[in-house]
Every structure is written in C-alpha cells, then in structure tokens.
C-alpha cells in the first residue's frame, strides 16, 4: 500500500427502508430521517436526509474492505453537504501515507453530481 494507491469505489444507494432500519437500530427518533412532510415542508429539505453517521459507516466499510486484513484504528470525518433519499453515494479513497506500521487513507463520499457530502481520513494498523 503505497501513497497514491486508490481504493476501489463502492456505490451505496440507501432506500427509505434502510434509513428507517438505521434509525430503528439506534433508536434515533429525529424526524428528518423518516417523516417526509416534516423533512420537506417544515425543515425545507428536498427529501429525507441520509444520516451523517450512516455515511460515516459507509466510509468505514469501504475502507475496511479495501485494506483487509489491516485493523481500522481510527477515523475522522466531517459532513460537507447534505445527502438525501434517492442519492447514490460513491464512497472511495486514496492512501496518503504508509509508515511505521500505519496506513492513512483519505476517504470521501460523493453524490452523482460530484458534490462531496462526507470526507475525512482513516488510519489502519498493519497486522
């Protein structure tokens, strides 16, 4: 894993059922993720919001699959634009550093129009 190596992009298109299951698994009651009139008419969004933490999970899964068998030690990310039900998120990344038994990967999720919705970096330990 040398710096510059790209990890294979993975497309994720969560359905309304996926958003519901993620809210339910966490007992997260925030209405913008399941209540369409609340999300649109009240909060002014174009549709249900894809949870930021779910996008974080997609980045973790994408990076873990590409970096196996290395262990995911840490990740940091920030949300830079909203993602809504119906959006396909392409998750990918690039190795930016590999030294001292650690590999750092820049990770991102972007919509079909190229807008980055979540970005950050993950650190893996060689095993």
């Amino acid at each position: 894993m040398t710096p510059g190596t790209e990890i294979p992009p993975v497309e994720r298109t969560p359905t309304a059922a996926d958003l519901f299951m993620f809210s339910a698994a966490a007992w997260l009651v925030h209405r913008i993720h399941y209540d369409v009139p609340f999300a649109t008419e009240h909060d002014g969004h174009p549709g249900l919001l894809i949870h930021g933490p779910l996008q974080g999970v997609y980045l973790m899964q994408t990076a873990v699959a590409a970096m196996r068998p290395r262990r995911l030690a840490s990740i940091m990310y920030r949300h830079t634009a909203p993602a809504h039900l119906g959006d396909t998120l392409t998750c990918g990344g690039t190795v930016v550093d590999a030294a001292g038994g650690l590999v750092t990967v820049e990770v991102w999720a972007r919509k079909a129009d190229g807008t980055v919705t979540t970005e950050g970096h993950a650190v893996f330990e060689e095993v």
Partner: protein, 160 residues
C-alpha cells in the same frame, strides 16, 4: 448577545452518570442488517465461535447505537424528534454537524456489558459571517466488562 452563557458553561461541566448496557444478539443482527452487513459472524453464534469469537460479533461503529439509545431514553422528545438530553441550553436555533473522530478498540460480542461515559470536552464561542456560533464537543467512551476500551468518539455540533 453571547450565545455561551454561564448556564451553558455549568451544563457543560456537569458529570453525566455512566450507563451500562448488555448487548444482545438481536441488537447486533438489527444493526448489521441496517448497514448492509451480511457475514454470518454477525448473525450465527456457531459461525462466530468457529471463527474464534465468544459470540456473534458487532459490526464496525455499533457502539453508536448504544449511545443514541441512551440519549433518547435520558430525555424527553423535542418537536423535531431529537432528545432533550442532547440539547445544550443555548439561545440558538440551528444545529449543524461538525467533525467526528473515532478511535476503535476491542470487538464487541453479544453478551458484553458496555459502559458508556459521556462528557462535554469543549464549549467554545466563535464569530462567523452570520453571527455568533457555539461549538460543543462531546466525548463518548465505551468500555467492556473487562475494562477494555472498545471505542472512543468525539463529535462537534455547531449551534447558531
């Protein structure tokens, strides 16, 4: 007007009591299904044990579900469905997500008793283009029944 009042500073300095949750196979299966994990080590105890685990293994970032459920149970529901237990006493109308930083430790298996410790590690006021902003950074630390760290998470919310 300052967003961060003395009331908010007292809120940020409070000690939140630790909360312990025992993880079930159902909890793990539901979360695995929600994030699209299909490997049987998350669903089938025999497969997980044959692979060297104590029981079915929780997928990555599972502790998030434990802390959200604990927060939902700790407060009343606000009109938008969020828990009053996560809302700081700030005269702010909008909350936005800032940075999240997560450190991963030992795996969680069904039957583990996970203790969650919460603290507010930072409360800062800044002045943005649209006026004052308050940045609240919360840290959740998760340990198992052996005292091993399973995850530490810090995230920032921006209020204005």
């Amino acid at each position: 007007m300052a967003l961060v009042t003395n009331e908010a500073r007292r809120w940020a300095e409070q000690a939140f009591p630790p909360h312990t949750v025992t993880v079930s196979r159902t909890d793990i299966a539901r979360y695995a299904r929600a994030i699209g994990e299909t490997h049987p080590i998350h669903f089938d105890r025999e497969v997980a044990v044959a692979a060297g685990h104590r029981d079915v293994v929780a997928p990555v970032y599972f502790p998030y579900t434990l802390r959200v459920q604990a927060t939902t149970l700790a407060g009343d529901l606000e009109p938008d469905g969020s828990s009053s237990a996560e809302v700081p006493p700030l005269p702010a109308r909008r909350a936005m997500a800032g940075e999240t930083a997560i450190e991963f430790g030992s795996d969680i298996c069904a039957g583990d008793a996970i203790t969650i410790d919460k603290r507010i590690v930072d409360l800062t006021e800044k002045h943005g283009r649209s006026g004052p902003l308050a940045l609240v950074t919360t840290e959740f630390t998760f340990h198992n029944q052996e005292g091993d760290l399973v995850m530490r998470e810090r995230f920032t919310r921006i209020y204005r």
